[in-house]
Symmetry: C2
Subunit: 534 residues, 2 copies
């Protein structure tokens, strides 16, 4: 317990007893730090994934290249059992080139990107603009008969926004204190929204525009400042979109929409989108690689990050950064020649951007099965209407073998701590593991539950999956999924720090006498509270 | 003096005696406020200048259109003596279309804009990239013989920067207090830099690249985040550039530069720039319009803003905003049917972005002449080596007639006060004039000297020229000369407030019993201090 007592972090959660204490091999950590700071290859890895390969849409040629290159890197570094683990995904899609241009009332090049999985325009197409905001199928009636031969602007133009906060920031001590919040679940009746509404509407809109004979649909970027995203759906083999779609910079979109309101300066829009579909292999692949364990090789610990990205830029902070950190942790541990008790596994997920499909496929194949959909009684349970969150859960044989999973997917900011996901038994262990890195800014164990990335489905089946807390930098403000998510905005010092901590956590988890404490297996949830208005 | 005593501004500069007091016709100001808030046309004007006409490069077809349209607006509003006042400028230039694309090691559309006054590429050109940073002619030797048939990247790639401050901000009370600083001149020997160095280097670089047979030159945007500018020189008829030049988004430029350092993934760049030169009329035109004076019609007061802009976007906050405010002030005063003692003149300047040429031409023609260059003795005086700042000054007959000039050219932020440009005698008058607008946020008279826009040359010849203090918003942070300077980022409430204050200042200055106090005519400056190291 000595180490804990000398920790000076203002927000240290003290271990309440020896159960939480874990031996940390500080000599090994010295070696990890030396490898990670003085012999780092994390930026070389990140540069290859971004500058060389570029945006890595699931099942695109770029993602295939990334799968091969990362697997080869793992092999070159001496990892074992390097493999591409397939799961059913759908078609790939890639952009060859595109352009957008206003030709009336004056000529102007516009900033645009094809929307993912929409088809090519087959050359340059040109047409009048109709501003026809549609967000549900109920909006179609208003525009029926008015869209033939038109460029349909489907977003409602907003007033825009000005950035009144600093886009780039690091967590303050106060932020970190506030981060330690236990997410107490509500048992109020869940909102009755359909989680698939967005996808369904995208299909309906595509069909409606086809029926109406629209030339193309155009969406406004959700961010100002000329930034683009191009995210979309339509990758499933039974879901083929037929109307070309482009996203325009918000400023360009609003200019068109304003001009469309004039009497004598109606705009004409010219679009060109040349894209390719890739259907030769509809499997996506998670890349897995191991450092085999010795004494307890049946058990394993795991680090993961998603390798796939969107394509408006090079998928740098989302998530070449996390992928490079996971790979660098593997390289560091191999370079040090560690022989861990438990196996250490590294995972580069695919299909994350479309629904965490890669990590979900791993859970399904190796950790637990779920009750199928369609059972009326089960469907009626709260939060039980999609397969992803489905009770009951049937653990697979390997369920207990995965001792801990650590995810990294919040940009290139350094690690400031870890979300314990409500696991109060694991928290003091993490505090112990973080202590050697307090002076690098990693201090905080939060009880918080984090979401939207690849540890989520492990948590839902009772496997200890965790996501680190990172400095946000300008991830959310301007980089996430945007046209400037390139190598330029990754921070080398931050990624080196993250790789060191990732490697140390893996080694600690692999060598600890006791496996990391687990949460109870999720079972049928409590019924909703009796009164919706209480 | 009553009005001054009830002023509540924390930073009010109290008038020291009745000399500073000016009668303010508050009934007229009520009328101005009603017109400006309840019957405003400022955003309609701004929309036409930006959405309809677009970027207004001096002598481009768009600027010609703007000259005609603004003159017609003045006429339609009933202004007198509306005229286009010519001055020698040079050729116009406009973009028809352009594109940039990386074709190796992978295909990628890039964000680019032709650099102003560089020629077309004559179709798509393609070549290898050479990163050859050059900032003086001394750098040429290193690259001689290495640029033939190449795309020459002339900027030194930097590490980029992350925005750690809020881009959009308003002035705080503290900012305003700090703004009241008298710029005490230094009489140290001026730095020996050549003010024309940048222009000379641009010419030398163009000639060098021609000699070497380079395909094109490529510059890195000075801002991150995918923003572009495209500013350039080469408009004088004796200065024709021969090498096409493009500016690339910083992220795109750095990616090329990084790939150029690899052994096996050298990039190939494809550029297309279709531009037009306009040499049929090499005069630029200031648009002038008057509300004739009555009792003192030989004297006049004046408001001005530059109508020309750069072309990466629509020249909205720089400076359709200021132009629309000046025009709106004219409209308001005409709508109220004011009959001022002195004439009120409105000026929309051209050629501001290339060197304040329009307002300088006005000064030269109507206010004062300067000693020509080439006199060794005069050339030896400090700050006397360019014509623009040249002593001695010979006032023209009309020098005394211009009683006050008010400029607006700092974006679309509302007016928070005015820079008195060291004129301590005018300051209490301004404080008096601002008082009715304190509750709209306009409170501050600063002794500060401001620069870089069209009041500057009036000040240098002893005519009282002033620039208002405006909330900065995101003018400097991301809009100034950039590809997102469009209508979207102008603030309607701010521009309406500015137009009201501009109109009131003009009416006050036109009707005051005494003309605004003047500064002494600038004469031969004091010699530099004796020791450069003191």
């Amino acid at each position: 317990m000595k180490r804990l007592l000398i920790a000076v972090s203002a927000i240290a959660i003290l271990a309440s007893g020896p159960a939480g204490a874990q031996e940390v091999d500080r000599v090994a950590i010295n070696g990890i730090i030396d490898q990670g700071l003085n012999h780092s290859e994390v930026m070389r890895t990140a540069a290859h994934l971004t500058d060389r390969i570029g945006g890595r849409m699931t099942n695109s040629p770029q993602m295939r290249q990334a799968e091969q290159w990362t697997a080869q890197q793992f092999r070159d570094w001496g990892l074992s059992n390097v493999r591409a683990d397939p799961f059913d995904f759908g078609r790939g899609w890639s952009i060859v080139r595109s352009s957008a241009r206003m030709t009336a009332p004056r000529p102007l090049d516009l900033r645009a990107i094809p929307i993912a999985w929409t088809p090519s325009t087959n050359g340059v197409i040109s047409g009048e603009v109709v501003v026809a905001p549609m967000t549900t199928a109920g909006d179609f009636a208003r525009w029926r008969g008015k869209l033939a031969g038109k460029m349909v602007l489907v977003s409602r133009p907003n007033a825009g926004s000005e950035p009144t906060e600093a886009p780039f920031r690091r967590l303050t001590e106060e932020d970190l204190r506030n981060a330690n919040t236990y997410n107490i679940p509500t048992h109020a009746a869940p909102p009755s929204t359909n989680p698939l509404r967005e996808l369904e509407f995208a299909r309906q809109l595509d069909a409606f525009l086809q029926e109406e004979g629209a030339l193309a649909w155009v969406r406004m970027s959700q961010r100002d400042g000329g930034l683009l995203h191009g995210t979309g759906s339509g990758y499933r083999m039974d879901d083929q979109r037929r109307t070309p779609g482009m996203e325009l910079a918000a400023e360009d979109y609003r200019r068109l929409a304003r001009l469309a309101l004039t009497e004598d300066a109606k705009p004409t829009l010219e679009l060109m989108s040349e894209v390719r579909f890739h259907e030769e292999d509809t499997n996506a692949y998670n890349i897995l690689a191991d450092i085999p364990g010795t004494d307890r090789s049946g058990e394993y610990v795991m680090a993961g990050a998603h390798l796939d990205s969107w394509v408006a830029s090079d998928g740098a902070v989302d998530n070449a950064a996390g992928s490079a950190v996971v790979m660098e942790a593997a390289r560091i541990l191999k370079a040090l020649g560690v022989r861990p008790k438990r196996t250490i596994r590294f995972a580069l997920w695919s299909g994350e951007e479309q629904g965490l499909w890669g990590s979900l496929a791993y859970v399904d194949r190796y950790l637990a099965t779920r009750a199928p959909l369609g059972d009326t009684q089960l469907d009626g349970l709260p939060n039980n209407r999609t397969w992803r969150q489905r009770w009951p859960i049937q653990p697979r044989e390997g369920h207990g073998d995965l001792v801990a999973y650590f995810n990294l997917d919040n940009g290139s900011g350094k690690i400031r701590g870890i979300n314990a996901e409500g696991n109060v038994a694991a928290a003091p262990v993490f505090q112990d593991w973080l202590e050697p890195f307090n002076a690098m800014g990693a201090t905080t164990v939060s009880m918080r539950t984090s979401g939207s990335t690849d540890h989520v489905y492990m948590q839902t089946v009772g496997v200890p999956g965790f996501q680190f807390i990172q400095d946000p930098l300008d991830y959310g403000a301007r980089l996430h999924h945007t046209s400037i998510d390139s190598y330029d905005h990754m921070r080398a010092e931050d990624l080196r720090q993250a790789a060191i901590i990732m490697a140390a956590f893996l080694l600690n988890a692999a060598n600890s006498d006791e496996p990391l404490p687990r949460m109870p297996l999720p079972t049928r949830p409590t019924p909703t509270d009796p009164f919706p208005f209480q």
